[in-house]
Symmetry: D3
Subunit: 321 residues, 6 copies
């Protein structure tokens, strides 16, 4: 398969970090569409000869919804002014009080979207599309309360696989990453614990809660996942980004997991905004060598960060918990 | 099918309540087996020419586990001194940090047990047995965090159905009853909200959280369920028992639901104990006319209460929310 | 004025307490009327040749409402089976989500009832009656959130006076007693702080919150009030009863206030019930020598306690904070 | 009546918002007077041929007090270096532990100031002045705990009217807007609920608490009020500004209320400061066409925002809850 | 040394517990002295030809203080009506806002009392007496916040040793047992962690906090300590009693520790009282074979429980964590 | 003794503050060493012909540790890339889960370092060095939980003296400053309360918790201490800096204490960062006239502020609580 050319900017001189920010961040501002209060935790995929995406745009009533968007270069985006209208997929029950934090991946013949779906509290919504124009909503994957549902980009052992983070119905002060399987995108089971928070002494940035971010990237060294970790400071939650490698055959088995973060709030658009101190990855584009991670910043805007896959994998191995 | 003779005691003179307690409550004391600290939220079913059951016996380290037991009359019980040892059922993954609050029901050819299973927090464990000697543990139904999983006694529309109460990982201060379906007791989906807590002004005893209790009883008026409701007083949670009727075909549809409770803590063994002020139903035996509900009292002992099914159904209809 | 004969039982042999319980407590059980779950914090007054009262009866849906009742001897009560139906008094706005914890007093030509009235949260409801059959509801005294509104039995300096306890909208963990004036039972102002909680070291039983109980009794030494005090133990709130003397002319001025409690939960009907460890005075009957205090016990039943007024006043003076 | 020329700056090119910020915000910095740590939630009115105001200046001990100030143009302010000294108005009881968040309005013959007054906790203080030199403090309007008391600029049905927000004694996590009446600025009653917080799904920026901001502006379409709304994010409260129209005759009746906010924290002086993410309106100046709203930013400085009244009213109607 | 005859009652028929209650519990009622509201967590030692003790008697203002008492048989106690008056011991600074939960032990030539002393919050007070008439208060052992300070009955490695439980200033929801040394009862150091709470799954009755109870008893198998453990139920803390063996030379080394409790609230005087569900050991008397533990019940009264030392030690070894 | 030339910059024109910031703040950035996520609360002393220091550098796993550093001018620092490795000092027990917030002072013949040491929770670690290359760790001063241990730079009355702030094991919402003495840096006692938080009305910036900052500076007017104070805003803790004078002979006696703060978060590097709104002094350099305070800003970087000692003392006296 031809890979579209992903956005890219080389590592700045003098920078020794394994990943680095785009010099023109944020790539999407809070008022990018007329109704928006903020546009942040959002997901993108290759599509046609360019890219498509599903974007979290909170409006000025601070209602949360997801919107389709398109781009030629992955940096400049046309985002629809109206939220996605769902049609019935594998169910007629497509209730949704709100939608946020989408992820997108292509499996077999279509694009699957997962998001945090409001059904008597947050749970994982699922939909598919062929063209980012018509979307077909399926059964929610789980009972409430759950967030950060992320599908693997292919079936494993003949079943769909999803990472998720069981939650409560508020600003959950805990959270680990689990894996679940489904034969049909309708019924889910074989729930396995994958990664738990770390002891404060070992890696404090991920000691309060963790959640899957981008769709896993298949590498010869395992599934590469970018995830967020949270520390509870005396002035609130701080969200940073780490990475891990999961076993290709048994993806509930963690091979390596970064003790240091790869990206943490430090730029002013990450430190100040509707929710200060948030770096929250939701998607990644990659070719054979390079990866660009899309992340929400301060729950307000979208930024991207770059890295070489080999360097990242080596970094995780060298700095593993 | 012949129905075993259920325990029974007539309504006391002068009593006008729709349900009434057994005069010799509690039927099982806290030290009923040598290691036990308390024996309470437990489940029973007809078995052979008598009855069998699965009992929550916390030991004197206050470790929670479930034990099999047998009775000729449903009142006097022989409970095993060792907890149930699970064998692998439809999975090899039968981890369990703790087991509590069992329910039991017979479907098709075997007895199914559900309970609150400790797997990185509370979730719903499932097992089956043919003889209450060998037990086969299956996949957990859901991701954590969940409690009060109760199976319907038959498939509906060709699928297994389970009521449950999504929770958090502590003394959950919220909780509604949901319904989920499974084609195979392994993968679960089609999650529907069934009943939510009530506004304080409407029915305060069930305004904080509610959870399914006994296995639903099929009646011509619908599925009769006994459930617990909780009010958060200034001195802690108070658990009472109500009842509802669910639609026979669409069991996520509530037909009637009792505004008043049917049983609430008032006797000293319900008011004082390891957790004061708890009436917590987990099972019911019935014949065509009568029902006897088994309930945990004060998280310490087991009591039973009696009623006529017709009267109970009429009461729910006459006093419905 | 002729005083009706108040209920009375002499101090038991060997008892040295300033107040003592009735030997046949509780005088009103939780199921005293057919619908009731509990009957507790309630108020009584002399009426005709006997007594009348307003009773808090929570029903079995745990809805809170107030009911009229009558008694010849103050001990044996006939309580109406239907709650009081209010008519419009000095306003048409007589909304009420719930009613609880009534107090009653006679001023000039009628009986005034105050209670905790649900109007977007708890506030102080006011009504009057001439006959305990027809009741006329007036404007709420205050904005939410407030509880324990108690009127003085006569105007002071030409104005109605009310004690109350500003609160929040939950299980308020703080609370002091204030005094407010009104020229007309409609508009209230001149708000004064009367009594605050005590430092833990000085008198711990009243260190968390306090609230007025019975209608003040006029004595030559000042207004005698019985009030409740609360300590927050590791297992919840414990409510006890104290007493104080307020200045006759300036009732926001505390002359004496009991450091020890006069009555605290010790009997089983006070220690166990819907809310354990509650003694909550709401009314008192008195003649020239004697007083009988009516109190709710464990938020479940009604008890009474006796004392000699002179002894009580002397006790307060001798043991004042 | 001649209207003084209010401050004004036209809508920037390309801006489509219904209200927009002054390009030289903040107009008052945190160290504007020698002792100040911050100057923010403050109120202004036309006065003489210019403007006067009452300013919340917290000093460097972070003691909260209110100060008088004067301006020719409404932008450049001379603020007194000493706080307002109150004299006795309609009472001798003018206790005040602290004063903050003033509002000012002219009624009949004098300027009335309301503020959050510390009297055993926060309540609503009232004072009047004729000249912004001598101030006369009156009875507190309510019992504690209350904040954001805002008077209407004229009597309605012959009585003074005040909006307020009942609170608790901490960082209140709830709050609705109420209306109360007084015949004499001393006794208050006829308390009515006006506006409550919205469900999270409908308008999340105002789902935690709301409070009146500027003095209501009389328009042919109703009383125009600017108010603040709060959302509780995982990193704290975020304060935004909305607007509503109240019925001219019955001001407890909401005609229209904005679902989207009109102004929310987005500039760095609103996002960072002593309390990040606060836009808090306390006053407005208007002529027949235009309005300028004064708001506290990040609890640190004062900003202003402009708009056309007709556009604002149309916006509220078009975007009403 | 002659050992006084300790109180004793044989194990009841049929009882298989390692420790059992006295049939006439409670031995000291809540109103045992005229001023008392409750008498509970208290300590006793052999003294002369009988026994002496220091008793926690809360008065009816719920002020906490400690009182001396004497007994011939260890069951019937004469407790002073006035609290202990401290004189200056090794310091002039003998401030004390309150005193509670005493322990007593004899070292070398005198009796040492430790207790929870109110000095800007709870910390460990120390005093000595020769005769239980004159008491000499010393420097507090630690900075606040600390509770449950228990001295070893002899110096170890030439230094005084104290167990304690660092706390916070409220109803501390955590707590482990530490050991500290002092050369002179004035300066303390060499702080070592001894025992921590257990994982919920291992021994839930001691999973929230633990604290030393009786003075350690020297046995050939190690220092035998009785301690309390706490579980946080949904209705509050439940206090039970366990036991452990510490190394004779290195008492911060735990040799064995009971997984099951030895005594837990089950009798009505333990289940109901000022703080329900509390068994709290503070002292033990022993001879070569037998031990009697004194414990506070429900924070209201004093009970005792008996056991054979050899059996207890064997039980701990057989049931060790 | 020769005093090294301390860093200095004159008060800017127009500035009337008693202390002012360095124009090139922050002097140490968050990525100053390769592994660091942040470098903040740190301590410096004169050393040789320049300066040495101990720096808190959190790494990118957000593990907290302390590092040695050296500087010629006190502004430009070479910080070691590896954390300090401790050797055994007056004990073999040198456990440490983490180290943070160091202070340094020279007494007699060596440099003493104190810091917050993780030993089953935070407590005060102590070490000494002669050369900032070899460090010798001593017994922890106290039981957990404690933070902000600061030694006086000389013995007083023959004993070492330490200020500290007893805490709990989380984001402690309280905290006062205490003083403790030791004859030998091993055993500590004679604990005295020095300074408590202030009433909100008196000085709100220090009403939630306070803690010692820089090592006390001996002046003819008393020990000059710089300390931090915290206010709990609705959006979290805000840390500011004040100063006080303690009695030279009895350092638990406060002579004067600043009601206003001397420095509070106002610059962007203090307002935004890993923990917004933090100014946290840990060290000061001084000569006879001048002082430079080193403080952590936003838990991210290091800043300095200047002042004249005489002016500061006069300011404290003129503005004392």
């Amino acid at each position: 398969m031809m890979t579209n050319r992903i956005p890219w900017e080389e590592r700045p001189d003098g920078c020794k970090d394994v990943m680095w920010r785009y010099s023109e961040n944020p790539i999407i501002g809070r008022y990018h569409i007329p109704t928006s209060n903020s546009i942040f935790n959002s997901a993108v995929v290759p599509f046609g000869d360019g890219f498509a995406g599903v974007f979290r745009c909170d409006n000025k009533a601070v209602q949360m919804n997801i919107f389709a968007g398109f781009s030629k270069d992955g940096i400049n985006w046309d985002i629809d002014h109206e939220p996605i209208q769902m049609q019935a997929g594998n169910t007629q029950m497509i209730d949704s009080d709100y939608k946020y934090d989408p992820r997108v991946t292509f499996i077999d013949d279509r694009y699957w979207i997962t998001w945090c779906n409001g059904y008597h509290g947050p749970t994982i919504g699922i939909a598919y599309t062929f063209d980012f124009k018509e979307f077909f909503q399926c059964e929610n994957a789980f009972l409430p309360f759950n967030r950060n549902g992320v599908l693997f980009p292919e079936k494993i052992n003949g079943k769909y696989c999803m990472l998720s983070r069981p939650s409560d119905n508020g600003h959950t002060p805990f959270g680990d990453i689990y894996l679940s399987y489904s034969p049909d995108m309708k019924y889910w089971g074989e729930h396995r614990c994958v990664m738990k928070v770390t002891p404060f002494e070992d890696s404090a940035w991920q000691c309060t809660k963790i959640g899957a971010g981008a769709v896993p990237i298949k590498t010869k060294d395992g599934w590469l996942i970018f995830y967020h970790g949270v520390i509870n400071t005396c002035n609130g939650f701080r969200y940073s980004m780490g990475a891990a490698l999961l076993d290709l055959e048994q993806p509930d088995k963690v091979l390596y997991r970064s003790q240091p973060y790869l990206l943490a709030p430090a730029e002013i658009y990450e430190l100040a905004g509707d929710v200060p101190n948030v770096v929250f990855p939701c998607a990644a584009l990659n070719d054979d060598e390079k990866v660009v991670v899309y992340y929400g910043a301060a729950d307000t805007v979208v930024g991207v960060a770059f890295g070489y896959i080999d360097e990242i994998i080596q970094f995780i191995k060298d700095n593993s918990l």
